[in-house]
């Protein structure tokens, strides 16, 4: 099955490897997946809160 891959420059990879070790991750892959999931979730949450805000504003519940 096809799995998407992301290219990372050598310099960034080295930085990520160090950070993963310091943070106690078992691998660089695990570390990168975790921070990507976290970042995506934060963006989705922010988008949802903004859409909720617009809906509440439209209904006259907030300014």
């Amino acid at each position: 099955m096809f799995e998407p891959r992301i290219k990372v420059g050598k310099e960034l990879y080295a930085t990520l490897k160090t950070a993963a070790t310091v943070a106690g991750y078992s691998s660089v892959d695990e570390f990168i997946l975790h921070i990507l999931e976290k970042a995506a979730a934060e963006i989705s949450q922010a988008q949802s809160e903004e859409e909720v805000r617009r809906r509440l504003q439209g209904l006259g519940y907030i300014e």
């Binding site: 809160e49 509440l56 209904l59 907030i62 300014e63």
Partner: protein, 186 residues
């Protein structure tokens, strides 16, 4: 102690306000939003709540009373006070249908498709639920709107137990009008 009725718009918050008023509680509300076809018995809202994010100077006026605060604004209630929150839970599809009808009546844009809006509200409620659980100045009672309509006497007993104050339970139960339960799923 401040009693707060909260939830999503169209989840039964106005009904809960009407019930608490009928039971004898002092309501913090004004005539800013009069009754209309969507809410024939009135919204019982306090217009200053709408700007709670930027101005909470009025909050002391709510001490010993009940005020309606829509879900997203709960984050902005100052922690210097203690709050009992009655949080209304209603089927999200019923809430969305009712909101869409109200938005059309207000000539406001409907926004994202219903499925997308359901996802946004689901994320919003999950995050709020998690946050409320970490806030020592809140105690919370989840009130199911459908149960409230179909079994008001039982629901009223639970509400009064949560609030811990003597209220007229008969008047509270009588404030429930099943005819106004529109947009129901079945």
């Amino acid at each position: 102690m401040i009693t707060v009725v909260s939830g999503l718009p169209r989840s039964g918050t106005s009904l809960m306000m009407q019930m608490l008023q009928a039971g004898g509680m002092s309501i913090l509300a004004d005539a800013g939003r009069p009754a209309d076809e969507h809410n024939p018995k009135g919204y019982l809202e306090y217009q200053k709540v709408r700007s709670l994010k930027s101005d909470n100077s009025w909050i002391a006026d709510a001490e010993g009373r009940v005020v309606k605060v829509v879900s997203q604004l709960l984050y902005h209630l100052p922690p210097a006070h203690e709050y009992r929150i009655i949080f209304m839970q209603r089927d999200l599809d019923e809430v969305l249908r009712s909101q869409e009808k109200m938005l059309a009546g207000l000539q406001q844009p409907s926004g994202p498709e219903r499925d997308m809006m359901r996802q946004h509200f689901t994320r919003h409620l999950a995050a709020l639920d998690e946050w409320l659980g970490t806030q020592a100045h809140f105690s919370r009672f989840e009130c199911n709107f459908s149960d409230l309509i179909t079994k008001p006497a039982a629901a009223v007993q639970e509400i009064v137990r949560f609030l811990g104050i003597p209220l007229n339970v008969q008047s509270m139960a009588e404030a429930v009008d099943p005819i106004l339960y529109r947009q129901r799923n079945n």
